[in-house]
Assembly symmetry: C2
Homo-oligomer: 453 residues x 2
């Protein structure tokens, strides 16, 4: 998401490439550009001004540019924009030559109109396959997989398998595993390493592993990522309920998923969306301000509650002393509960809602009573006033219990109401808990003080 700039080592080469493009020095351009790693080629391509990209397109074949586009992150870069700079024919050639799972990612970021526009220019076979892959829901195994894997029959010999790998290695995105498929069903897997180690005449079926780890196309991408990390897999096969082989998911796509999911968690929690370390101060301000202003109006609700108890504060100004202690502590407890809750949602840890409610109620009450008891003692000693201590302590206990439940359940509520759960960030929970804490505090205080004074 970050690090959009050229690596330092690349900068001089970039400058030379710019010069070559400007002066029509094609031979020197070829020397420089094709010596770069595809990823650096991608960075250079993106950094060029549009008219030089135009020049570059004239010199570079679509199939070579496809290798470059395979290394661009479509979530970060407007590939759509880059493609629209090309002639439709050239753009279609690039897409035809890219790995199909990467094309899916590119198309996924477009409007449906544009998607259709590109699909119609692609080869029929490719377009059909793409339409199928695009039909899987976002963030599922199906949306991540590629149908470009190597399959073989169990009766084949090792030497036949190696010959097959040799034949398809050029187009297949990965050849670390060869999948053993009989009548469309996945029955085993054999690693390229095993193929190389075993004698030529042995049969695939005697060498293959049958302890398979597979996922279904509707499985969540986070679960796929966890399985691949646990089992140390470089590719994960996707099968349907009948164990029919549908495709594979590659480790490099999973790396991107893990990065994206973690960033999402973090930003969601912090209430800073699309965190970008390269942004200008103005962009930072425009990103952080709206959320703050919305919360100010929620905070005004809290202010109006205190305002409602103005007479009580006039009578006992010492009540004002403990407002921020109670709201602050409850907010902290709510933030802790929120962190756990967001993690639970990401990991799809579904416990029974009632069990969770009672667990969190128990945790909140325990933390609340211990903290409230502590503060009761402190206030009693400090202000030599047991009833004030009792009011503050009870309010603290109540406020913490409520904030703890809010931190735990507000994100679940947002999730089930299909509201963007990013709304339930730390700042939101602590501002909300300010409101409930103040209500609890002044109700308890006015009750205790009215009864005893």
């Amino acid at each position: 998401m970050i690090n959009d700039e050229l690596r330092n080592e690349i900068v001089p080469i970039y400058k030379r490439i710019v010069r070559d493009l400007e002066h029509g020095a094609r031979d020197d351009f070829n020397l420089c550009f094709f010596d770069l790693h595809n990823y650096d080629q991608a960075k250079v391509y993106q950094a060029l001004p549009p008219q030089l990209r135009h020049q570059l397109i004239e010199w570079v074949d679509p199939s070579d540019l496809a290798d470059v586009f395979d290394l661009i992150e479509p979530e970060v870069v407007e590939e759509d924009q880059l493609l629209s700079e090309m002639t439709p024919r050239y753009a279609a050639d690039v897409l035809n030559d890219m790995y199909i799972d990467n094309v899916v990612d590119v198309l996924d970021e477009m409007t449906e109109d544009k998607q259709e526009h590109y699909l119609q220019q692609l080869s029929t076979a490719n377009a059909t396959e793409l339409r199928h892959l695009l039909s899987y829901e976002d963030q599922t195994a199906g949306a991540l997989m590629t149908p470009e894997y190597v399959a073989i029959k169990s009766s084949a010999s090792i030497v036949e398998a190696l010959a097959l790998v040799k034949q398809v290695a050029e187009e297949s995105e990965q050849i670390s595993y060869i999948y053993v498929v009989e009548q469309d069903k996945l029955i085993g897997v054999i690693s390229l390493r095993s193929l190389i180690v075993h004698p030529d005449h042995e049969k695939v079926k005697d060498v293959m592993t049958q302890s398979l780890v597979t996922v279904l196309p509707n499985d969540d991408q986070e679960m796929v990522a966890r399985l691949m990390a646990d089992y140390d897999l470089v590719a994960m096969p996707v099968v349907n309920e009948q164990n029919k082989m549908l495709g594979i998911i590659m480790i490099d796509d999973i790396l991107d998923v893990i990065e994206a999911e973690n960033a999402e968690d973090y930003e969601r929690f912090a209430g800073v969306h699309n965190l970008d370390l390269e942004e200008s101060p103005f962009q930072s301000i425009m990103k952080r301000l709206p959320w703050l202003i919305i919360l100010v109006f929620l905070g005004l609700g809290t202010a109006s509650i205190i305002n409602h108890y103005d007479q009580l504060v006039q009578k006992m100004s010492v009540l004002a002393v403990f407002i921020s202690l109670i709201t602050g502590t409850a907010g902290n407890a709510g933030t802790q509960a929120l962190a756990v809750s967001i993690r639970r949602i990401t990991l799809k840890e579904k416990k029974g809602i009632f069990r969770m409610f009672f667990t969190e109620l128990l945790i909140g009450l325990s933390i609340g009573m211990i903290t409230g008891g502590t503060i009761l003692l402190v206030v009693w000693v400090w202000k030599a006033n047991f009833l004030l201590g009792l009011a503050v302590g009870l309010a603290m206990a109540g406020a913490i219990t409520v904030a703890n439940l809010a931190g735990a359940f507000v994100p679940l509520l947002m999730e089930s109401l299909k509201i963007d759960p990013a709304v339930a960030s730390g700042p939101f929970i602590s501002t909300l808990s300010d409101l409930t804490s103040v209500i609890i505090y002044f109700n308890i205080a006015s009750w205790i003080l009215n009864v005893w004074f």
Copy 2:
């Protein structure tokens, strides 16, 4: 970190294995156990009661158990404990047969005494290598790398290279890339895919890629992770300043790094350490409580400031109305700045400290003035009191500016003082900002009201 339980599919097999171990049914045990994926074997092994693990060790060779231990996460599981259940000879055999980078991870988690104990039982060559790898600082490329890679001379032919790969495939952890090394220096790389695709008689030097991406042994693991994700690499070569090849870092270790670094970021921010979704309510309470209680005492500082201005509040109880609005909003601004700052630290984004100071000052002032201006208007209209509005608005602007700077710089300060930066969590920053906000608020209020009333 999570998901310590057996997968549902494994549970019946686990039960059968328990029965086999209890009844001495070795043949059936072999059938069940060796049919499992190494990762599931590891889970089963850990789930067994100690006396059955004992039985299992008698039936399973150290070399087979080494494959199982290669799949255990040493950060999560006490492998030390597991090893101590074996005879010293057996434990040494397991360690000797594991991949060396995994042994480093296991030893890294032990006390130095125990490390030494195991090192002395290992083969001399292995122990020397291990001591060298253990000398690299934690969380660097050196600490993650393994010296077990495949190297070849550039003058070799493809067929020679393939023969070499075949020969070492059994012991090498990865064979996707073969590194071309001349006089110890890394000069190129060739993928197994290229080896397979190219005709036998071609030379490695004509086929190899020279656009290498490498890291130094002291480079931070987070940087390695980013490069591997960007360049879609399955293995990353580690070289020294003279380009001497030292080892490679594998993608599966990087997956673990990314998970760990992200969890660290998140927990640091949330103030919930060692987040564990499986913990009991009692464990949750014991984990969350200490931090809350510490912050309560910081909150009492805030309370005593308000207490200091008790006379002012008695005179103008309306001041109490806006305490939580100001502390809450400043806390929210501080939390946003903190999120950005923690990300910056993790990614080692070092901007000039002065430039950063002025940027954050500018952001804080702008956000503060806009929010303060809004609140000035609201309070002026609501309370029909311009001076009160001015006091609250100015206090809000000042409190936000300070909280913004605190959120940005407190983690940097902790980092440079070598204090655990986890201390600078969201709850800490908002409690700290309560204190500064209240100081600013009452100073401004008493000044304005003393001057004009």
